[in-house]
């Protein structure tokens, strides 16, 4: 946001903040240690608002749980904004000093009365009002979010709608106040920071900026492409058009993780050549022409990863990798060598030091300092710089030393996959505490908590189906269908269903999901699928032992 992609706060700040909006995040299960910090805040008196269609184990701790309609986040944010403005609770001084575009924004949210917000979100207007007032009048307040915000066709607008709220109230750039996206993977922050984005060079520098590019070209001795590449959704589109015919996949399992996964597999199969570099023989690897066995980055190699609070930390080799598995860095270097462009076999530290010479944000982070400090938070421009606790403090400096932060009007649009008589149930997907993504890693250990992936429904919906818990049913979307056992989950209201994504070999949830994706981020709308649930004639005979969600530990 505002030019750099990173959470503005440190974890410690949530322990003393006054109001927390936990929005589209079941942090207690998906980010348990962040939730420890959050609970310290709650115990220190912070008021917690949990915005989530499900009354999750996180939401159970909230002072107020707002169980909005799936995909109505912008409607809620806009209604909150209008209420704040109407009640005169917006931070006029901050807006004047540090932002642009307020007038247009205010106009854009003007139609979002509490009543309209209530209609779209399904929430009582007085609850929206309460959250608006509590957030706006708090001394310190944070908005924390995860995939509930970003796995939508309008992900970027969802995020911008939340950023607007922070700008409106001045809840950014101060200790304890800020915008906190919690990252889903251990190095999704670091990957982006290191240039694993189609439009960025390492250090989050614009690829289309000739000055940035020039620095890299000087060091690398090669021209750097002058325009943004493709993100994954665009790559799949290009494969469909025959524009991409070869693929090098490192540590990703698109054959199972993509929305409309059968279509994704079809495209992968149609490639002329695919190399997969992975720890496992994944479903994607099975489709590859060449498989390069890789070492596990966090336990079998040296390097760094970056966390959600922009903390760069060392990973270290503790184990020898099995068989012929090699460090990713070694594999890439060897490939370069075979391609006749070899650069030798640098160590992880040597690569890092080159990065430090090119990325001002990382310049001060030597391996020695990273070890001594237990990680450093960027920006850390020099060896004597302690790293940065929170971002955008300069928005409060006078005179403003930077471009003002822009408001972006965010029009609401409903989920693409509309509910209908034929597909009346809103299916949303997500994580369970003990499992992770497609399960290739978390499937390796025996979790006493694990239960079969099931279609989780409200008690009333189970009754309406006339099936017993554990009975096998068919879940049908406009794109495909899967069989899964039924599980009752009291955190769901009628009409809302949930499936975990962790066991695609048994229940391939992504046969159902829609590949409508956000044009800016490329993220598909995993969170909103229209389905119907059909009892199976032999569903009761083919029961499976599911663990009741009623007994699932909170």
């Amino acid at each position: 946001m505002f030019g750099v992609g990173g959470g503005t706060c440190s974890y410690e700040e949530i322990e003393t903040t006054d109001v927390i909006l936990l929005w589209g995040s079941n942090a207690r299960e998906a980010h348990p240690i962040f939730f420890h910090h959050l609970m310290k805040g709650v115990r220190n008196g912070a008021r917690l608002y949990a915005v989530d269609p499900r009354h999750t184990t996180s939401a159970m701790w909230a002072d107020v749980w707002l169980g909005l309609e799936v995909g109505s986040d912008i409607a809620l944010a806009n209604a909150v904004a209008r209420e704040i403005i109407t009640a005169g609770l917006h931070h006029e001084e901050f807006i004047r000093h540090a932002t642009v575009g307020f007038e247009a924004y205010a106009e854009s949210v003007e139609p979002w009365t509490l009543q309209r917000g209530a209609e779209i979100t399904g929430l009582p207007p007085e609850v929206i009002r309460r959250m608006a007032h509590d957030y706006a009048t708090a001394d310190q307040a944070q908005i924390c979010w995860t995939l509930g915000i970003t796995e939508h066709h309008n992900a970027t607008d969802n995020v911008l709608a939340l950023i607007n709220l922070a700008l409106l109230t001045g809840h950014v750039g101060r200790y304890g106040s800020g915008l906190v996206p919690i990252r889903g993977q251990n190095n999704v922050q670091g990957g982006g920071d290191m240039g694993a984005l189609p439009n960025r060079l390492p250090g989050f520098q614009e690829i289309e900026d000739p000055v940035s590019r020039g620095k890299f070209e000087a060091v690398w001795g090669r021209p750097v492409p002058n325009q943004a590449g493709k993100h994954l959704s665009l790559m799949l589109e290009a494969m469909e058009l025959g524009e991409i015919t070869g693929l090098y996949v490192i540590g990703e399992n698109p054959a199972q993780s993509e929305a409309r996964s059968d279509h994704a597999r079809h495209l992968l199969r149609g490639l002329e050549f695919m190399v997969v570099q992975d720890l496992f023989m994944t479903r994607t690897a099975e489709l590859a022409d060449v498989v390069l066995p890789a070492a596990a980055g966090w336990a079998e190699t040296d390097g760094t990863v970056t966390s959600s609070e922009r903390r760069v930390q060392r990973v270290r080799k503790a184990l020898d990798p099995p068989g012929e598995a090699r460090d990713d860095l070694h594999i890439i270097s060897a490939l370069a060598e075979r391609m006749g462009r070899g650069w030798g076999y640098p160590t992880a530290e040597e690569v890092w030091d080159e990065l430090r010479s090119l990325s001002p944000n990382h310049a001060g982070m030597s391996y020695r300092r990273l070890a001594e400090a237990g990680g450093l938070q960027w920006p850390c421009p020099g060896e004597d710089h302690p790293g940065t606790l929170f971002l955008h403090g300069d928005l409060w400096d006078d005179p403003l030393p930077r471009d003002p932060a822009p408001f972006f009007p965010t029009p609401w649009a409903p989920p693409v996959d509309e509910l209908s008589e034929e597909y009346p149930i809103r299916l949303t997907t997500g994580r369970r505490l003990d499992s992770y993504n497609t399960g290739v890693q978390s499937g390796g250990y025996s979790s006493p908590l694990r239960t079969a992936v099931a279609i989780e429904v409200a008690p009333a919906d189970r009754a309406a189906l006339g099936v017993a818990e554990g009975d096998l049913v068919r879940v049908v979307s406009r794109r495909g269908s899967v069989e899964a056992p039924v599980l009752v989950d009291r955190s769901l209201r009628p009409g809302l269903a949930f499936m975990a994504v962790h066991d695609p070999d048994v229940v391939d949830v992504n046969l159902l999901t829609i590949d409508a994706w956000d044009p800016k981020s490329g993220t598909a709308e995993f969170k909103a699928t229209a389905v119907r649930i059909e009892p199976l004639a032999d569903g009761a005979e083919r029961r499976s032992g599911v663990r009741s969600v009623a007994d699932y530990p909170v």
Binding site: P32, I33, A299, Q441, G443, P553
Partner: protein
């Protein structure tokens, strides 16, 4: 912040207001024993091994939680202090299996001249401790010293509870509860000498609220709570702590960035801890961080390392049950 000046063992020290006597001792490099105290938990001051003598106080006071006061005079090595510490250690050593406490504790016990044997030979392990009722107990001729010895609780693949080693320091309850995890799967049950750490109705962990974060293991000072892998290796006589390496890295799952210390023996991760002094975790992890490492070393049917056969024992047997520890050699 206001400051407070006090005297510890004759040495004057100035501390920030709100510090504890233990903080003052540490500032003076005046090492004090602790058992139930941990920097990342709220002091419960129940073990009483850190007691010190404060001028004007009728009884000794716990240094871990007593705030310093202006002009306070503290003695950490008086006769009364030495006696109480010796007795607390003796009481614990005579009733609890302390084989696995840290070296520092062993050194303190030697320092104070503990002789737990003088209370008589230890009584046999009891099988009814989880069913004992408050306000009632059986007493024999008093010739044996009552203990908390009892069978090990093995009810899942990730960790075991050996309450014969439990000194009831409350740390696991705090870590499971409000100091970190907020799960509250365990609490202190019963009363008096029969007080114990328990789930509701002593139900197995898999039937309780436990989310297997293992934060209780992380804070346990006596080895009462232990990785299943460590338990099995110890049973087999193959736990070789001196041969293990400990490597700090970052968890491979979500994006919070939890630091892990991987304890490795024979190229196998046998235990995972997290540094107490790191701001991200304060020593606490979730189930994935603590136990989710198996995918880098899945132990197949064929033993690759000398310890694979042992590690495999933690797995569910064919009948969906966990092998009992006493059923194997």
């Amino acid at each position: 912040m206001a400051e407070v000046t006090l005297v510890v063992d004759g040495t004057t020290v100035t501390m920030p207001d709100g510090s504890t006597i233990l903080d003052a001792c540490r500032a003076l490099d005046n090492n004090q024993p602790t058992l139930c105290y941990l920097d990342n938990l709220t002091p419960v001051n129940v073990c009483r091994v850190c007691v010190v003598e404060v001028e004007g106080n009728r009884t000794l006071v716990p240094s871990c939680s007593r705030p310093v006061e202006e002009g306070m005079e503290v003695a950490t090595d008086s006769d009364r202090v030495r006696h109480s510490r010796k007795m607390v250690y003796e009481f614990l050593a005579s009733s609890v299996d302390l084989d696995l406490v840290d070296e520092e504790t062993v050194a303190w016990m030697d320092h104070y001249g503990c002789d737990p044997d003088r209370y008589g030979p230890p009584a046999d392990p009891a099988h009814d401790r989880d069913r004992r009722k408050a306000g009632h107990h059986q007493i024999g001729p008093g010739t044996e010293a009552e203990t908390v010895h009892q069978p090990v609780k093995v009810d899942n693949e990730l960790y075991v509870r050996d309450y014969s080693r439990c000194i009831l320091c409350y740390k696991c309850v705090e870590a499971c509860g409000e100091d970190a995890q907020n799960t509250f799967a365990i609490a202190v049950a019963g009363r008096g000498f029969d007080a114990r750490i328990s789930t509701e109705f002593d139900t197995g962990l898999t039937d309780s609220a436990c989310v297997f974060c293992g934060n209780c293991i992380g804070v346990c000072p006596t080895g009462a709570l232990m990785f299943r892998s460590e338990h099995e290796l110890r049973l087999a006589g193959m736990w070789e702590e001196d041969d293990q390496t400990v490597t700090r890295t970052v968890c491979s799952y979500c994006g919070v960035g939890c630091n892990l210390d991987l304890h490795v023996q024979d190229n196998r991760i046998v235990k995972v801890t997290s540094p107490m002094d790191h701001s991200v975790t304060s020593g606490h992890l979730c189930i994935k961080g603590r136990f989710g490492y198996e995918y880098v070393q899945e132990v197949g049917d064929l033993a690759v390392t000398p310890i694979d056969d042992i590690l495999r024992r933690a797995r569910i047997d064919d009948r969906g049950r966990y092998p009992r520890p006493d059923s194997r050699a």
